[in-house]
């Protein structure tokens, strides 16, 4: 083992000038050299005293403490990021009319940060444009939810206690909407989600809630029809992320696929599960499609890669939560609640302005956020000359109509806060690793 000793000699430098030898400099030391050390179990690699039961108990306690601390740390991060009081002014004082702050709840950090940042930027752009066109002085206040219901709840309390916030754009995820719905209802705070698709959210439980995208009741049949009719699948595995979003959409998909005569099996995974290899090994050879209801697009990519590594021929079909540049495995499919707005004439100025200002591509999460912000500001500025009012904004919201939105059609709400005549779009990831709309 002289080689190892030499290597170690090279790796570790002495810190003390009085002990310039290394540990293994036992060769310079009298004493234990050449003498067997008194532990009969050493040859098998035993290097310690056995732990006391007390220590093992302590370790277990520490594990629990660590678990608690980890949760707390995320919470602290969100609290720090949710600068409700500070508020980042997205627009200058373009007008002297109506004013107020728009709360923007998005996963600005965390696994879904790529969509959250896009949502935030589009919200800021919407405020700038709206102020410029209408002479208003709206600003934005950011709240980072990390796509976590607990964080969203914290941010919601901060928005409620900030009297400048007159309405909210967001949150992004269905589980987050469920956690903020009641506090916002109590505060008469309107909130418009640009991406929460769970169908039950708009069944009257949250009276100040609205959204500008279609629900899973639309996504399920749309995706199921494509999988059964276009891809010709007879057998589908649904991998459900254990979140409120994943559960609701998986139910909708299972129902819609079975109605098409497709055999469906389901598996559940945690959002933080690193290893999908065991799930992938459950994909039988005659399964053509693995439908995933993930909210972290990188997880969809990992699953698709593991499918290919195990030599499975099934393709991954990601729900709207997977629509991100992180899911870029050629040949896979993904659905989205919004179109690619670069092909929509009415959206061109916004798309150009975004790319000029934020120097980057965007997906389908940002444009609905722009529209959601427009809806809240339109409601807030109705018959308003000074500081907008939360309750009035909330009362006006469902009457808002945007005749020519950047999503390619008019926006009008149903009495329960859903958007009328919205539909889902399906994309295939091409060899250039970018999603292309399937005609």
């Amino acid at each position: 083992m002289r080689v190892i000793d030499t290597l170690i000699d090279g790796l570790v430098l002495s810190r003390s000038t009085s002990t310039t030898h290394l540990l293994i400099g036992l060769r310079e030391e009298p004493g234990p050299r050449g003498r067997a050390l008194p532990s009969p179990s050493f040859p098998t690699g035993e290097i310690m005293r056995a732990p006391s039961p007390v220590l093992v108990g302590l370790a277990a306690t520490a594990v629990l403490a660590l678990s608690g601390c980890a949760g707390g740390s995320t919470s602290e991060t969100a609290a720090a990021t949710a600068s409700a009081g500070a508020g980042s002014a997205a627009a200058g004082s373009a007008g002297t009319g109506c004013s107020g702050a728009l709360g923007v709840m998005a996963p600005i950090t965390g696994g879904a940060a790529s969509i959250g940042v896009e949502q935030l930027n589009f919200a800021k752009l919407a405020v700038e444009d709206f102020n410029a066109k209408n002479g208003t002085s709206f600003t934005t206040v950011e709240g980072d939810t990390q796509l976590d219901a607990g964080q969203a709840s914290t941010v919601a309390q901060q928005f409620v206690s900030n009297s400048k916030v007159i309405g909210v754009v967001g949150p992004a995820g269905s589980q987050e909407v469920e956690s903020v719905g009641q506090p916002f209802a109590d505060a008469k705070m309107s909130f418009v989600s640009p991406s929460a698709t769970k169908t039950s959210l708009s069944e009257g439980k949250y009276p100040t809630f609205a959204r500008v995208i279609p629900t899973d009741a639309v996504q399920g049949p749309t995706d199921a029809a494509f999988i059964a009719d276009e891809l010709g699948a007879k057998k589908v595995l649904i991998v459900e992320e254990k979140t409120s979003y994943g559960a609701g959409l998986s139910d909708a998909m299972e129902t819609a696929l079975q109605a098409k005569g497709v055999e469906v099996t389901r598996q559940q995974v945690s959002q933080k599960q690193p290893d999908y290899s065991s799930i992938v090994s459950l994909v039988s050879d005659d399964t053509q499609v693995v439908f995933v209801t993930f909210q972290i697009a990188a997880n969809s990519k990992a699953l698709a890669n593991q499918l290919q590594q195990q030599g499975k021929s099934a393709v991954v079909f990601g729900s709207d939560g997977s629509f991100s540049g992180d899911f870029d495995v050629p040949g896979q499919y993904v659905s989205s609640f919004a179109p690619d707005i670069t092909g929509i004439a009415a959206a061109k100025p916004v798309a150009d302005a975004y790319q000029a200002k934020y120097t980057g591509d965007f997906g389908t999460f940002g444009p609905p956020t722009y529209v959601a912000a427009q809806a809240v500001m339109t409601a807030a500025s109705k018959e308003c000359t000074g500081q907008a009012d939360r309750a009035r904004t909330s009362a006006n919201l469902l009457q808002v109509q945007l005749p020519d939105s950047i999503l390619g059609g008019p926006i009008a709400f149903t009495p329960t806060g859903d958007v009328q005549n919205a539909k889902f779009y399906i994309f295939k990831i091409g060899d250039d690793r970018k999603p292309a709309l399937v005609p």
């Binding site: 234990p32 690699g45 660590l66 990188a298």
Partner: protein, 305 residues
């Protein structure tokens, strides 16, 4: 049978990673009787270092060096970087507390864990990054065993994990460093009186333990692809569980515990439910603690009263 063989491969891959993390816990506990709860974060930093080497060498689409060289460099940089991080953690967070009550370094370890997690979050952001292994190392032409296709990267990971474990055993049993380590583990004061530089032993132990965690981080990236700032928490917990199941302080125990937990998770996912994979791992821990409180290969302690 095919399914069984597939889960065996999956379990051994996962188990190899857990075993390497568990070895770090065991080494440090063996010498210092310290539960280094920052170990999971060192593993996470190793995974990030491997990722940055990969992207620095041209990224998954167009590596500028041969793939084998890129992978070797990923492991080397991750192991050395993680090893040095472990040494730094020991110097700043544990050494000043070495003679304090045992709870003090434990709390310090929790603090270091949170610090590292948030430092990475601050420095590199929170998005999930992908090693994207299939782009530079596709599984085409992978060998089949019992009807199961085994990707070359899995073979590498299991083989490398075993090699590192055997090297560690040799290091502990046959080198002067190992002799010094065992001496300090047996009786630190006596070792000091015999002329052994205890501080250097501890530094080396932290380096070796952390380097193993760094290697585990790159392995996870290569096989499971995703790396992110919170990945160390759960992996650290599983590694700790493996170490305790095997008998914390026992090197063979850590290996056994790691493979056992990995296999339990894989087989549970397929034969019971993926919902119970983690539950059964921790159930194994509880059962082992009830039947053999010192772990499967732990030795009973003789305590002077």
């Amino acid at each position: 049978m095919e399914q069984f063989a597939q889960q065996l491969v999956n379990g051994l891959t996962l188990g190899g990673v857990y075993a390497l993390i568990a070895l770090g816990y065991t080494l440090i506990y063996g010498v210092l009787q310290l539960l280094n709860f920052a170990h999971g974060e060192v593993y996470m930093v190793g995974a990030f270092l491997g990722y940055f080497v990969m992207t620095g060498l041209g990224g998954p689409a167009a590596p500028v060096v041969p793939v084998w060289l890129m992978i070797v460099l990923m492991f080397l940089v991750a192991m050395i970087g993680s090893g040095l991080l472990g040494v730094a953690v020991e110097q700043f967070a544990y050494r000043p507390l070495r003679n304090s009550a045992r709870i003090a370094p434990l709390i310090s370890a929790l603090g270091v864990s949170l610090f590292l997690q948030n430092a990475v979050l601050l420095l590199f952001g929170s998005q999930v990054r992908s090693y994207d292994t299939p782009r530079y190392w596709p599984a085409t032409g992978a060998p089949e065993l019992a009807g199961v296709r085994i990707s070359p990267v899995r073979i590498l990971v299991v083989a490398l994990a075993l090699v590192l474990m055997l090297a560690l055993v040799q290091l502990v049993n046959r080198s002067r460093f190992g002799r010094g380590m065992r001496a300090v583990a047996f009786d630190r004061d006596a070792a000091l009186m015999m002329g052994i530089d205890v501080n250097k032993v501890v530094v080396l132990v932290f380096f070796v333990a952390s380097a193993l965690a760094g290697a585990a981080g790159v392995m996870v990236g290569l096989v499971f692809f995703n790396v992110y700032s919170y990945m160390g928490f759960l992996a650290g917990l599983k590694g700790f569980t493996a170490a305790v199941v095997g008998g914390i302080g026992s090197i063979p125990g850590a290996m056994l515990g790691g493979f056992l937990i990995g296999l339990v998770e894989s087989f549970t996912t397929v034969y019971i439910s993926s919902n119970f994979a983690s539950v059964l791992s921790f159930l194994v821990l509880i059962l082992v603690m009830l039947v053999k409180p010192r772990g499967l290969l732990g030795k009973a302690a003789i305590v002077k009263v």
